[in-house]
């Protein structure tokens, strides 16, 4: 019982992380129907930015007080990720907005490759994994359950809380605010939105920036939770996050979060309980994905694909 709960907890943590990244995928896809493969790399870059901020950009006296260090890391990561996401939109995707549909996909893969290589070759020692400081409460939370104890890192709790709160805020923002309305309008029909006084370019840039911000938050939390990072995590988590977005129904915020949690839990529990061991954990995730999509082609919370005129 205790082991199961422990695994469930680590599955939820993984899920929370995937959910935060999936939000970026789902928003960008929702608004311009682009699979932004480079989003995972934005996440990866933001982890490196957080580590760099801690190591080189804050005075040593701050480093031991996480209450100061963590916000600084967050600021650094968010700045880098948002600037990156905006530049990406402006120079890689915007020129291709009217190109054949698959062209931006190849651009995204190219951008992803470039980002990975830039970090790998220029960040000191990034050719192997680097350390990220644990800038948060150190003591784990120990919960006693029947048959043993469940140990939770403080960062685990933070991760789950942030992803849920973040998703709720985002959902409220998109459904209530002026900019959120502009986003939904642009997603539905950019030309009509333009007639109604919405600036589609600015809205799309804003969406990318928002996605970058969430990726940066995920990146910082990843860094302080796992304390190590290499340049491959972007691709790995990018694939999971995109899968989560599709599982939940691309374009749906609720779907992305729930899809993320489902994937995290299935991957962790599947690797422990199902035959084949941890080696096959990814396989269970993808089998579940295929089954869900075959029986619900639009994902769990997505709208059925409309026939475009």
């Amino acid at each position: 019982m205790a082991t199961l709960l422990q695994q469930l907890a680590s599955g939820l943590v993984l899920g929370a992380l995937i959910a935060l990244i999936a939000l970026g995928y789902t928003m960008v896809y929702g608004i311009i129907q682009l699979i932004n493969f480079a989003h995972g790399e934005v996440f990866m870059v933001s982890i490196f930015a957080a580590a760099a901020t801690y190591k080189w950009f804050i005075p040593e006296s701050w480093e031991n007080t996480w209450q100061i260090a963590l916000p600084c890391m967050l600021v650094g990561a968010v700045l880098v990720a948002v600037v990156l996401a905006v530049l990406m939109e402006r120079f890689a995707y915007r020129p291709l907005r009217n190109a054949p549909r698959l062209a931006p996909l190849i651009t995204a893969l190219g951008v992803s490759q470039m980002l990975k290589e830039i970090v790998r070759l220029n960040y000191p020692d990034a050719k192997s994994a680097i350390n990220v400081p644990r800038a948060f409460i150190d003591e784990p939370i120990i919960i006693t359950v029947p048959g043993g104890t469940v140990v939770l890192q403080a960062t685990s709790v933070l991760l789950i809380a942030v992803s849920i709160v973040g998703a709720v805020i985002l959902q409220l923002y998109v459904s209530r605010s002026r900019m959120g309305r502009a986003m939904r309008a642009t997603a539905q029909d950019p030309d009509t939105a333009k007639l109604m006084g919405v600036n589609p370019n600015r809205t799309i840039v804003f969406t990318f920036a928002l996605g970058g911000l969430l990726a940066a938050v995920a990146g910082v939390l990843y860094g302080i939770h796992l304390n190590t990072v290499d340049t491959e995590v972007g691709f790995l988590y990018g694939i999971f996050a995109f899968t989560a977005a599709v599982l939940g129904g691309v374009g749906s915020i609720k779907g992305a979060v729930i899809g993320g949690f489902i994937i995290g839990v299935v991957k962790t529990l599947g690797g422990q309980l199902l035959p084949g061991g941890t080696g096959y954990d990814v396989v269970w995730v993808f089998i579940l994905l295929i089954l869900v999509l075959v029986f619900r082609p639009q994902g769990l919370f997505g709208e059925p694909e409309r026939v475009r005129a």
Partner: protein, 610 residues
């Protein structure tokens, strides 16, 4: 409190970026201003082009670097000492010289001068960039072009300026319309033109592959820039030829005499081992190109024709390879039987086809990008299954090594071949085999595309609901696309297994699927020669850029972005698709693409009308 060490570096970095951005913005402004000022002054073409051309000629004779690098002198001794012998211009300096001369001559000749000047200008800029950036990296900073005593190697900078000026001259007046001359020529003359063109193509390809190899067979230290310089030059030359409408004419000719040109192309491809590029190394790469080309053509059926995005396609190649490995009699295989290769290839194709149909079955319900992620999932499941040795069939992490080479009539395919007195490199028989296979696959694809099924695929791609309304059984048609595409991939996989002699799960990662998809899209969706070209580019470029070492993957990504930026329809777009895009007009298609010429027999018009 001391300032943390990151800030000064960051400040300096931002300063550099700000300077770079300012320079780019200034250049852009200058470009726009000059274009505007010149727009109604066609008379300015000659003076500007001559100025640029003369500058380019001078730049070819100027020094390019200030000292002899540790790795050896930069190509063609382009150092300050070069002035001892100013007329011995070779290599990239010869390219700069030639382009400069043409830039001067073009405005006085009855040619579409502005288009020619534009191509030459861009070529010069590319030459200047390659041969300025590389010495900077290799020579350790700006010291490579500025010496301590104030000497300055102006060559690169002068070429950049010259290229800029030449490109500007193309802005004097509107670009000439692209000529579409398509004279009726006698059959024999057409044949002769085709043969000569394809032979030239073969020689150019061999030249490119061989660029950067010294006469003694070793790779030159500067193979990368030598190759890129050649590429820039050839790009400019091609652009100039295109300006005459020559390429369009050649395409029309080869389409009119399709069977003949395919024959000549196959013969030319088979002649590659006889050229300078006929080394063991290039034979291995060429076989890989063949394998990927055949697979990419299969993927082209799925993505290019039927419009179903597939992100896990490498799995079918892998299935074919594992089947072949298991029937090869290799010690590590599960079956320990050895069947003749032809039979194995057929089995591999059939099994891969069955898996294709299985992977394709969700298409009955799942559409668009959702389908893409389903195929990605299948690809990852295959890789994991292979990694953990499912059913003992894949060897798991140990792979299946020591697969015996194909053996026909007592001839070992991996051994070198001697015809008369010519010794051909080892692997040449595989090369012949895969080339024949690719030719076969191309013929299959071409016939399928123009068949009832092919038109059904295109209809499904354009509008599935309308296709269904027209009586097309969309479900069957889509699964058939997966089935046939996967069979082609499985066939290629069988050859792949024997050639590499080891089949390991990590040959079939997601990035390989991406490479295949990139090959299809780079070449142009639905285009047969495009898929082959794309596969060749994606496998040969990283090899030629090897001495950029660490940076080659970066430049690979950059190349993808740049090609998609300037040619989103692919390098060799399919004629029909081009015509379809033309209807939409506004979709970012350059105006010149819009006047698709009809072949005199009206084949395009027919195809559209059908």
């Amino acid at each position: 409190m001391t300032i943390p060490p990151g800030w000064p570096i960051l400040g300096l970095g931002l300063l550099y970026i700000a300077i770079a951005v300012a320079v780019v913005l200034a250049l852009r402004l200058l470009w726009q201003r000059s274009a505007k000022a010149l727009a109604d002054k066609p008379g300015m073409l000659r003076p500007i082009a001559i100025a640029g051309g003369v500058l380019a000629v001078l730049a070819a004779l100027l020094p390019w670097v200030t000292f002899r690098f540790n790795d050896g002198p930069y190509p063609d001794l382009a150092t300050l000492q070069f002035f001892d012998e100013p007329w011995g211009v070779t290599g990239f300096r010869l390219f700069v010289l030639l382009l400069g001369v043409v830039a001067i001559a073009a405005p006085f000749l009855p040619v579409p001068a502005r288009r020619v000047e534009r191509a030459i200008g861009l070529g010069l800029i590319a030459l200047g960039l390659v041969n300025t950036i590389f010495p900077l990296i290799s020579g350790g900073g700006f010291g490579a072009i500025t010496a301590a005593d104030g000497a300055f190697a102006f060559g690169g900078v002068a070429t950049l300026v010259a290229g800029w000026v030449v490109a500007t001259s193309a802005k004097a007046g509107p670009l000439e319309p692209l000529p579409h001359w398509n004279p009726k020529v006698p059959r024999l003359l057409a044949y002769a033109v085709l043969v000569v063109s394809y032979v030239v193509l073969l020689l150019v390809v061999a030249w490119m592959l061989d660029a950067g190899t010294d006469p003694d067979g070793n790779t030159n230290t500067y193979a990368g820039p030598i190759f890129l310089s050649l590429l820039s030059f050839l790009g400019a030359a091609l652009g100039a030829l295109h300006a005459f409408g020559f390429l369009g004419w050649l395409t029309a000719l080869s389409e009119r005499h399709r069977v003949f040109s395919i024959g000549v192309l196959v013969v030319c491809a088979l002649a590659l081992p006889f050229t300078d590029a006929g080394t063991d190394y290039w034979m291995t790469i060429a076989v890989n190109v063949g394998v990927y080309a055949a697979t990419a053509i299969g993927l082209n059926i799925v993505v290019g024709l039927a419009g179903l995005l597939d992100l896990g396609y490498i799995a079918f190649l892998g299935i074919g390879a594992y089947i072949a490995a298991n029937f090869s009699g290799a010690a590590a295989s599960a079956l320990h039987v050895e069947l003749p290769f032809v039979l194995v290839a057929v089995i591999a194709a059939i099994v891969a086809g069955i898996f294709g149909a299985i992977v394709g079955s969700p298409t009955l319900r799942v559409r668009g990008d959702y389908l893409a992620i389903v195929t990605l999932a299948f690809g990852e499941i295959f890789r994991k299954a292979a990694q953990f040795n499912i059913g003992g069939m894949t060897g798991g992490a140990n792979a299946i090594p020591n697969i015996p080479p194909i053996n026909w009539f007592g001839r070992d395919f991996s051994a070198p071949l001697t015809i008369g007195s010519v010794r051909l490199p080892s692997g040449v028989l595989y090369y012949v085999l895969i080339m024949v296979l690719v030719a076969l696959v191309m013929v299959i694809f071409a016939n399928l595309k123009n068949s009832r099924i092919g038109r059904a695929w295109i209809a499904v791609r354009e509008d599935e609901d309308a296709a269904r309304a027209m009586g097309i059984k969309t479900g069957q048609v889509k699964i058939l696309a997966f089935l046939i595409g996967a069979m082609l991939a499985g066939l290629a996989g069988a050859v792949f297994a024997h050639k590499t002699s080891t089949v390991a799960y990590n040959s079939f990662q997601f990035i390989e699927s991406v490479t295949l998809l990139a090959a299809v899209i780079l070449g142009g969706m639905g285009s047969i020669p495009g898929a082959v070209l794309g596969a060749a580019l994606l496998l040969v470029l990283p090899e030629k850029l090897r001495d950029l070492q660490d940076w080659r993957l970066f430049f690979f990504g950059l190349a993808l972005v740049v090609i998609m930026r300037f040619r989103p329809q692919g390098l060799m777009p399919d004629r029909h698709r081009r015509a379809e895009l033309a209807d939409e007009g506004a979709d970012g298609v350059p105006i010149e693409e819009l006047n698709v010429p009809d072949a005199p027999d009206g084949s395009t018009a027919q195809a559209v009308a059908r």
